[in-house]
Structure formats: C-alpha cells, structure tokens
Symmetry: C2
Subunit: 138 residues, 2 copies
C-alpha cells in the first residue's frame, strides 16, 4: 500500500492497476446494493435491449475507484470526500479493466487533491470517466 502525504504529490502523478470483473463480484454487488434490475441480472433481457450480455452495474465499476485512492493514490492516508463517474460504454463479466488515476489539481489551503479517473477495457475503450476528491488523514 502506498502512503503519500499531501506534500509528496504533484500534478500529473499517476497510478493504475488492472482488474477482471467476475460473476462473484456481480453476486456480491447485488447483495450489497439490492439492485435486482434485469439489465444486470437477466441475460435474455439484456440481449433484447441490444447488449451482448448482462451489463455490469455502473456502480460496481465505480467501486474500483475505492482501491485506486485507498491503496495507491494517495494510499493509507486517503480520506475520500467525493466521487463523480460518467459511464461511457457497457462493461461485461470477464472484461479486464485498467483503472488509472492522475493528480489533476492540488488545493494547498485545504490539503485536498483532485484526481482524474479513467477506466478502460481490454480493447482500449474508455468505459468510465470520472473524478475523485481526496483529503488526508493525520
């Protein structure tokens, strides 16, 4: 786990990791969220709607931002204050995603970092574009 202080960060600094979405993650997300929507749970329904398979929950994909900031950038001292996400393309079980965060702005007076987030799939297509605002623990 990284452990950057505010002072150790600079604009443009970047971290990334890869993750493959599994059926177990879908089951887990259903248990947490209670979102039984058929787009995420019924293969036939999703195909009728023009998708290749059941679609991975947008907020499951968004959850990877938690590791990005809590483990990598800044890591241990992270205090997540806010998140934004836009969903650009569907994600399917089996997709391997690359989650990348880049320091966009550093707000010295409040010791807060704005991190630009891009999540891409194995075909290099952006599936999520977003932002995380992080403060720092002692």
């Amino acid at each position: 786990m990284n452990n950057y202080s505010f002072e150790q960060l600079s604009v443009g600094q970047s971290e990334s990791f890869e993750v493959t979405v599994t059926s177990e993650m879908m089951d887990c997300f259903l248990k947490i969220s209670g979102d039984t929507n058929p787009l995420h749970n019924d293969e036939e329904f999703a195909i009728e709607q023009g998708y290749e398979h059941k679609v991975v929950y947008g907020l499951l994909t968004t959850s990877f931002i938690s590791k990005l900031v809590g483990v990598l950038l800044p890591g241990e001292k992270c205090l997540l204050q806010g998140v934004e996400a836009k969903y650009l393309k569907p994600v399917y079980v089996g997709d391997t995603l690359t989650v990348t965060g880049t320091i966009d702005e550093l707000h010295e007076s409040v010791k807060r970092a704005s991190i630009k987030v891009i999540i891409s799939n194995q075909n290099d297509k952006k599936v999520l574009k977003g932002k995380a605002e992080v403060g720092f623990l002692k």
Copy 2:
C-alpha cells in the same frame, strides 16, 4: 420493481428506502474493490484517527444509488449514465440509512432525468449528497 417511462415522471417525484449496513456488506465490498485501506478494515487505526469505529467505504454507501434508480426511480427501464456523490459524515456498520431520490430535472430532448440523492442516517444526519443521471431503455 417500479417501471416508470420517461413520460410518467415529473419534477419533485420522490422514492426512498431504508437499508442497514452490515459486516457482510463490508466483506463483500472489500472482495469487489480490493480496497484494503485500514480506515475501513482496522478498528484501532480508525479510532486513532478520531472515528468511533471502522468507517464504511464511501463507495459502498454510494452503491445504494444503484437500487434507488434501478428498482425504484425509474426502475426497470433505468439506464444509469452518471453518478456524483459527496461524503458529509462517516457511516458505521449497524447504521440504518434512508436513501432518497427526487426528480430534479427532466431533459425532454434526450429523455434523461437528473435525480437528486440524499442519504441520511438514523440520527437524521445527511451522510451523502449526490446526483444520478438516468436514461431509459426501450
């Protein structure tokens, strides 16, 4: 599950549900996200940092927006396009949260609804303030 079409929605329309955060949800979220940050996993560390207990992942609390839009508002036809969340107060395991969505704007030309989201705890304190942008399936 609700099944509102775009035409059936009106500004000010609201839906809400209650959910109690459990240890199982925390375990599940760790499995999905891979976020091993001690603030969410080490009671002693969290208390040293001035919290009452281990803090629930912000993005776990955000996950409840998935049910809000996918099951209730608009329900079956929901196509989540984007989410924003600001974390206002810590959430702990055992907290009972009320998740409320209210239609804020309806964009007729693109058939998209902006939904204001408030999540409050059992002491009526707002823990999350956010927004969801939803489109509609066929």
